[in-house]
């Protein structure tokens, strides 16, 4: 098997496994790390993780396909996840989703040709006091309007991270 974790991540994985009385419990944590390292969970990554935990690759596949945060395909450098749930919707989320989609020239679920942005809509992010809100990778942005979206996208386009 050619694919390998970096030594640092491998160390972290070994530490995480020790937190649990049963090894398989570490699966979600390892997949989070794997996604950070490899960008998405390919079949090869599934096999690698399965080998580490002594489980069948199908067990990994079951989990990867169940949880929305794991991707089986590459996503853009900046994964924009706009909340469409109740408080955000009341405060104009739909309109913002259309706006971002138009600005980036992609539909929801698509990635820009330069692989910079992926646009997704998600369910409640638990930040309703800042509705409408979104997450870019793991960063939260709230109280959004078109002007704020312009600013955020411009910063990201120039790779200025907060």
């Amino acid at each position: 098997m050619s694919l390998k974790f970096s030594p640092q991540i491998e160390k972290e994985i070994n530490k995480i496994i020790k937190n649990y009385p049963q090894k398989q419990s570490a699966l979600l944590s390892i997949l989070h790390l794997a996604q950070k390292e490899f960008g998405y969970i390919s079949e090869e990554v599934e096999r690698l993780v399965a080998q580490i935990l002594d489980i069948k690759p199908i067990r990994v596949r079951e989990v990867v396909t169940f949880y929305t945060m794991f991707h089986q395909r590459p996503v853009g450098k900046y994964h924009i996840k706009v909340c469409r749930n109740i408080s955000c919707s009341i405060n104009g989320a739909e309109e913002l989703i259309d706006y971002i989609s138009e600005k980036l020239g992609i539909k929801v679920g698509e990635t820009t040709p330069d692989k910079k942005f992926t646009l997704s809509v998600v369910e409640c992010l638990g930040a309703c006091e800042h509705a409408p809100c979104m997450q870019v990778n793991s960063e939260y942005y709230g109280n959004l309007d078109k002007k704020k979206i312009d600013l955020i996208l411009e910063r990201l386009n120039n790779d200025i991270n907060d």
């Binding site: 937190n19 649990y20 009385p21 049963q22 398989q24 419990s25 570490a26 699966l27 979600l28 944590s29 997949l31 989070h32 935990l53 067990r59 079951e62 989990v63 169940f66 949880y67 929305t68 945060m69 794991f70 469409r84 749930n85 109740i86 408080s87 919707s89 009341i90 405060n91 998600v122 369910e123 409640c124 992010l125 638990g126 930040a127 309703c128 006091e129 800042h130 509705a131 997450q135 793991s138 939260y140």
Partner: protein, 420 residues
């Protein structure tokens, strides 16, 4: 002034800068309850106080915490576990994030006392995957607590030991359901288990397990410090203490408000949250997270406690108040509801998996202008066929939320269908 401060239990000292750091937390009586519990009280005495406090679960079901703990068998050779539910997926809810971000040690102190009381030596905080920054803050706080010997071996030189770990979810609403949470912690899909057996006897790794919400556990330190009788007086006789109300939607000042259990809903919206946004009028309120059936404007003059909301066929749930204004078409609310449950159904039980999907398709058809008046009864029929026919309460939640909108706003939906 003093009495105002006394009203706050969970959000006390919140104005203190850097309260999330252990040194600061300690300066404001942090870990004092832990010392009292471990050095001066027996587990039985603590359980007695929690029972007296009538502390009901803050996650949604409202089950009395003391009673839950007492179900854990005492004479078992198996290890016991505590799982803190920090999945916080109920739409409209953000109070647990508020506690964990601003006062993580309050939660940790509550966890240690709970584990001492129930005889647990391993605890997990199951936190939703999206809260990565919050998880990092908790990690740091846990490290601090280990350094002070509040966690680890022989805590405060007693023979009580506890290890605490964080487990991140990965984006699945269902994992907030306690048995799905356990499956997820075991590294599997979040498929709820059949109950009974209840987690108190057969839980994580088939061992006795206590599962409590973040806010519930965070109330433990003050109950230990001030006593159950004091605590119960801060709320209602059978529903003690305060609640963290997450208020969002069309209000001027959305946010977390700590108020006595039983505070009037209208008061929370118009006095505490600043009333409606400029130029909007109130149309409806969802009082306990998206799963709680919607209330019309003329129904919100009620106390916010489990029983009062049950009387109006809704529920207190996670105490998340979602305020809907006159400019929001009710069909939009319905669409959000059906989208959400169709997306989050775990797929295990047919009535929920297929029912939520059908409801979503019908509502989308209505939105696209192809609705028929008979669709409303059709939706009601499907909702009725989900309720009570699934392993976990998510099916009931989907059904109740949809039924609530259809029953309370039938005329508006009929008008919408006719107009399109």
């Amino acid at each position: 002034m003093t009495s105002m401060i006394e009203e706050k239990l969970l959000t006390r000292n919140l104005e203190v800068e850097n309260l999330y750091k252990i040194e600061i937390y300690q300066k404001y009586d942090g870990y004092k309850a832990l010392k009292k519990a471990l050095l001066q009280m027996t587990p039985e005495q603590i359980l007695e106080e929690v029972k007296k406090a009538n502390l009901r679960g803050r996650g949604g079901a409202g089950f009395p915490a003391g009673l839950k703990w007492s179900f854990v068998p005492k004479d078992t050779h198996k290890p016991k576990y505590l799982c803190v539910n920090a999945d916080e997926g109920e739409p409209g809810t953000f109070k647990d994030r508020f506690i964990m971000t601003n006062n993580p040690h309050l939660l940790i102190e509550g966890i240690i006392i709970t584990c001492y009381c129930v005889g647990i030596h391993t605890a997990f905080i199951y936190i939703r995957g999206e809260y990565e920054h919050v998880a990092q803050r908790l990690e740091t706080a846990i490290k601090e607590a280990y350094k002070k010997n509040y966690l680890g071996d022989n805590i405060l030189k007693t023979n009580f030991s506890l290890n605490l770990y964080i487990h991140r979810g990965a984006g699945a609403y269902i994992c907030g359901e306690e048995t799905a949470l356990l499956e997820s912690l075991e590294g599997k899909r979040g498929h709820p288990r059949l109950k009974p057996p209840f987690p108190a006897s057969v839980g994580l790794y088939k061992c006795p397990t206590v599962i409590n919400n973040v806010e519930t556990i965070s109330n433990i330190p003050i109950i230990v410090l001030k006593g159950g009788e004091w605590f119960v007086k801060k709320g209602l006789p059978n529903d003690g203490g305060t609640r963290l109300f997450s208020v969002s939607g069309s209000v001027k000042n959305p946010g977390v408000y700590e108020l006595p259990t039983g505070t009037n809903l209208k008061d929370i919206i118009f006095n505490y949250a600043g009333g409606m946004k400029e130029g909007r009028t109130l149309k409806a309120v969802i009082p306990g997270g998206l799963s709680a059936p919607i209330l019309r404007e003329d129904e919100i003059d009620i106390p916010m406690d489990c029983e009062s909301l049950m009387k109006v066929n809704s529920m207190l749930g996670s105490s998340a108040i979602i305020v809907i204004d006159d400019r929001t078409p009710i069909i939009d609310v319905l669409r959000v509801i059906v989208n959400f449950y169709a997306h989050e159904s775990c797929g295990q039980c047919t009535p929920c998996r297929n029912g939520t999907w059908w409801m979503k398709n019908i509502v989308h058809r209505i939105c696209n202008g192809y609705g028929k008046i008979s669709d409303i009864d059709n939706l009601l029929r499907i909702a009725n066929n989900i309720c009570g026919k699934t392993l976990c309460p998510m099916g009931d939640a989907a059904s109740m939320a949809v039924r609530g909108v259809l029953e309370k706003f039938r005329q508006e939906i009929e008008d919408y269908i006719k107009k399109r």
